[in-house]
Subunit: 298 residues, 2 copies
């Protein structure tokens, strides 16, 4: 997969050629994109699976048009596949047939290599996207305005990616207030494994370890004494189980690589403690103390 | 170490027989206790090491009297040793000689077994305490009012502990608004290893693992994409390096036991991913999802 120069010609601003945006899925991401675009005056055509979802999306005013019929996408210049990874990777045949050949098509999936592998052959103007934003909510009631404002929007074009299609996605990201980033899909997947998927496993393992405590008096005391440090470190390990599983199952190699690096890192700290090398432990903790601010750009 | 029945006679409220409280050390904990007691009208005699600290403590109004001379403790009914663990475990001879034999003496250390081992023989009315409260600040400017309000105050008496001394400490904890808890010292140390010391190592190992990424493009992307999940999971691993080291060096056996349990727990999650046992992984994440609220009593 070739890397695209982020300073290349696609960075030049161009007028947006999009009249009608189709959004497939009205969950947190789809609904939030729909709300922002609708507010900006773009015509949004939403496609959902069930009529009850369509009704709820209409009553929330997420989009001008909401339908359960894939043919509703026929006049769209841009179609955003805001589907769960599982549906995105095994797309419905009716959906595929309904995608206009000239439309730009993008997704919002949190892993990119496997998505590209599937979608590169499915549509000539597909561009991989990962808008990095979220809340703890899900479903048709989750969408909010301004979700993407100030957040990164990573796109993962390949050498064959249609440059005008990529520009349409860049304009979309900028219209939603996102920071536009271009990355190689494999590197994107490794980076999100490290900063998003690995923390879920690390944090879940902490909860498991404490939950496995055999002495009921210690466990009871642990529950009473746990405070903000434990609350913060255990937060993402107690998140949406289906989402955590999807991350691991769809980004398996990158997550395993991140876990191997983590295990090695943990073992070195453990070794300092086992050997009583307190100066070394303190130096390591000074290093992590200095390192963290580099990851807090927000 | 015998367990004390928390519903036993020491739970009965009694009038506080304390006229003058000595506090050794005016850091975050000592200064905060001094502020609250002073506000309540208790006479507080503070002992600090350096004259510059004494001046700052006076100008902040932390206590009525601030001295660098240990003899200032002579009229105190209660002396609180608000010292770093290292100083607490190797106490100054002048301090020891200055402690009135009839005074109740307590500490505020975050580990208890080793503190008891040292102090049980040093003073007849010693009671081990661990007020579980803190901020990220340290030093003579760190003390704040209300720091202990609503927070646990664990005391770790042994069979030989003077019951009237224990009652004095219980009254102190209640006056500061703390939840009073009694625990066996070894169990206390195991519980704080699990919910306080283990998270520091787990979180530091995450920062180390990400920092060790060899591909500069991945590392750069990780820095740009890291968001609240990474920020929360990495927070305690980037805390005060000296404090993290002191926890590990003073609670070594409990921390190593917690780490062994953690490693096992992590390996099981890793094994599910390696084997592609996604149902099992999802079940584990459902368990951690249900488990976490039990540790959020605040």
């Amino acid at each position: 997969m070739s890397e695209i120069d982020p300073m290349g010609p696609v960075q030049q601003a161009q007028p947006w050629s999009v009249d009608r945006v189709g959004i497939v899925g009205m969950g947190l991401i789809g609904g939030s994109i729909a709300l922002d675009l609708t507010k900006q005056g773009t015509v949004v055509q939403a496609l959902v699976h069930r009529e009850v979802t369509a009704e709820r999306a209409r009553s929330r005013g997420l989009a001008q048009f909401v339908s359960t019929d894939p043919r509703c996408l026929q006049d769209c210049d841009l179609v955003i596949l805001a589907l769960p990874l599982e549906s995105l990777l095994a797309p419905d045949q009716n959906l595929l047939m309904a995608l206009p050949e000239l439309a730009v098509v993008t997704d919002v999936g949190s892993v990119k290599a496997e998505v590209l592998q599937v979608w590169q052959d499915l549509h000539p103007r597909f561009v991989g996207s990962h808008p990095m934003a979220g809340t703890a909510e899900a479903g048709v009631d989750a969408g909010v305005t301004g979700l993407f404002c100030g957040r990164p929007w990573v796109s993962t074009p390949v050498a064959e990616t249609d440059r005008s299609a990529l520009e349409v996605i860049r304009q979309l990201a900028l219209r939603l207030g996102s920071h536009w980033l271009i990355a190689d899909a494999a590197r994107h997947d490794q980076a999100v494994a490290l900063i998003s998927h690995l923390p879920v496993i690390v944090s879940a393992a902490l909860l498991r370890a404490v939950g496995e405590e055999r002495d009921p008096a210690v466990l009871d005391l642990a529950k009473r004494l746990a405070s903000s440090g434990f609350a913060d470190t255990s937060r993402v390990g107690a998140g949406n189980p289906a989402l955590g599983t999807a991350m691991a199952s769809r980004n398996t190699q990158a997550v395993l690589r991140a876990l191997a690096s983590y295990r090695w890192s943990l073992e070195q700290l453990e070794e300092s403690i086992l050997q009583g090398h307190w100066d070394q432990l303190e130096q390591e903790l000074e290093r992590t103390h200095r390192l963290r601010p580099h990851f807090l750009s927000e």
